[in-house]
């Protein structure tokens, strides 16, 4: 890949890097809050993607200036991003609220510990079943 392409499309490369970084954090990190941070990073890469799409070469910010023959960048992606940001905020808020509840219920927000606790819950279910069968017989 030539230096030319990198220079021309540096913003898209950042989009890809952010996207991958975000996904990586979600998948690999054990802490639930950090996963949410990863999700935010992933979503912000999309924001940058849209804004990059909206840029018209030689265009200025899409705010009416009153000067004639101004080239404006496309305002629509900006609007879409505002919506997406709001959605991201809501998602984050809900996620964090869930993390608080998880902490209260499980006393941990680390993935490996939570999986172990979940498994224990499952085993408890089976034990209850077994004891019921015993009492039935």
């Amino acid at each position: 890949m030539s230096i030319n392409l990198i220079v021309l499309y540096w913003n898209y490369i950042i989009v890809i890097m952010l996207m991958m970084a975000g996904l990586y954090i979600i998948i690999s990190n054990q802490n639930f809050i950090k996963k949410l941070v990863g999700l935010s990073i992933f979503q912000s890469s999309v924001f940058i993607f849209y804004i990059s799409l909206g840029k018209v070469s030689g265009g200025t910010a899409p705010i009416l200036t009153g000067i004639e023959d101004t080239v404006y960048s496309n305002p629509l992606p900006h609007v879409l991003i505002l919506t997406a940001i709001v959605v991201g905020v809501a998602t984050n808020a809900l996620g964090l609220a869930l993390v608080v509840r998880i902490q209260e219920a499980f006393k941990s927000i680390e993935e490996h510990k939570l999986l172990a606790l979940k498994k224990e819950d499952g085993l408890k279910d089976i034990q209850i079943e077994d004891s019921k069968e015993d009492s039935a017989v």
């Binding site: 999700l39 993607f49 996620g95 869930l98 499980f106 079943e129 039935a136």
Partner: protein, 495 residues
Amino acid sequence: MLILDNIPALLVAIPLLASAVVSLLPSARIAWGFAFVTTLICLYMAFELVGIISSTQALSYAFGGWEPPWGIVFVLDSANVYLVLLVAFVSVIATLYAYTMLAREIAVEDLPKAYAVWLLAIASLFGLAMTGDAFNLFVFLEISALSSITLIALGAGQDRRALLAAYNYLIIGAIGATFYVIGVGYLYAATGSLNLIDITDRLNELGTNQAAITGLAFMLAGIMVKAGVFPVHIWLPAAYSYAPSAVSSLLAAVATKVAIYYFARLLFGIFIDITQLVDFFLLYILMPVSVLAIFYGTIAAIYQSDFKRLFALSSIAQIGYITFAFSLNSHSGISAGFIHIINHALIKGALFMAVGIFALGIGSRATMSSMQGVGRQMPITFAGFVLAGLALIGVPLTAGFISKLYLFKAIFETGNGFYVALIALSSVLSVLYLWKIFEVMWLKEPVQPLKIDKEPASAYLPVWLMVGVIMIFGVYSGEVISSGIGAANALIGAR
């Protein structure tokens, strides 16, 4: 007249506003009553819509008077109007069911807020079904996801694993939705429009465009997450299994179906002219994935002892049938898929509701060992459950049979005997897990007395209403069949 003209908007607006009001109401009963009346109003409006579409074939509602392609529109045609009716009907029944069941599974002081989120979920499903704008769909997708997550997390009162399931769904759902948005971005870059019909026209002019193809790929990936298509279904079993029963019923019945409808619209309505891509995707990606979904779901269900999880896995298999029907890439295939969307929604809704009542009866989760003989202790609910189970297998005189009939018709038209064998084999396998359940619940002696005096009529009434409709659709199937064919006509034109 004012109302009738604005029904599409009202179908979303009324539950939304009602949700705000309900969250402030003091008593759980009043909150429920308000929610129930709202769903009834939506049902009435949905019927009106069906009437309008049967005469005018298509309806386009522009918000704020802004004409497409600049404004956001809600589009109704034979493909989605029956889906809207389905969502309305199921929400009425589920809300009726929630009166008894949600109250027993969630703390009383939380109920008004629960109903508020419930109405939000319903509003978002209407929006999803009707919208004709790609980005607007993302918004409704997220509203639906967030409200579903909240509803699922409410199950934490009974089992704390509901929180983990909700979190899982949040992460995976958000990734899916973001993929969808990336897809919309590519599509916008290629066509310059967000209106679905406009995009279709512009794609026709463009021909094969790399950006459009990439956009489609991302959009489909995102929708598949929401629809619970294998292998991105992983959030589904845990979510349906730990959520409160009323929530499981509502979500299992309609939430994934709306996403599948949109999936079909993308593939057949919008991208249909990029034939090499769509054909390739359907044959080499969707079909193997659907077959895997069918067998994975069925076989995992056979080995599963927790009832709710079992039926969640069964849902994955059934969604596999629907996507398999679509992957046949024919008019009959699309009809068969849409017919099964309607029938399966009713069947799964009834099944989950019945399982909830059984769990209530014994005071703990419904599993193979805890459910011994419970069928004899709760015969009315069990009878409805059995009928819904027979419909799931596809016994004649139930709605499930009509789905099977048209699915096989579509398969035979492709002339491929291998597909016939696959689907026939999976039908036999699905009999296995239902037979196991029947044996445990009816043929064995009860091991413990029930925790309740008798089956709550207010809870099994919704089950029987659903079952009644399932049986009626099994006998008088003309409406469902013509809705499926109408959907196929709307998407790819009459054959």
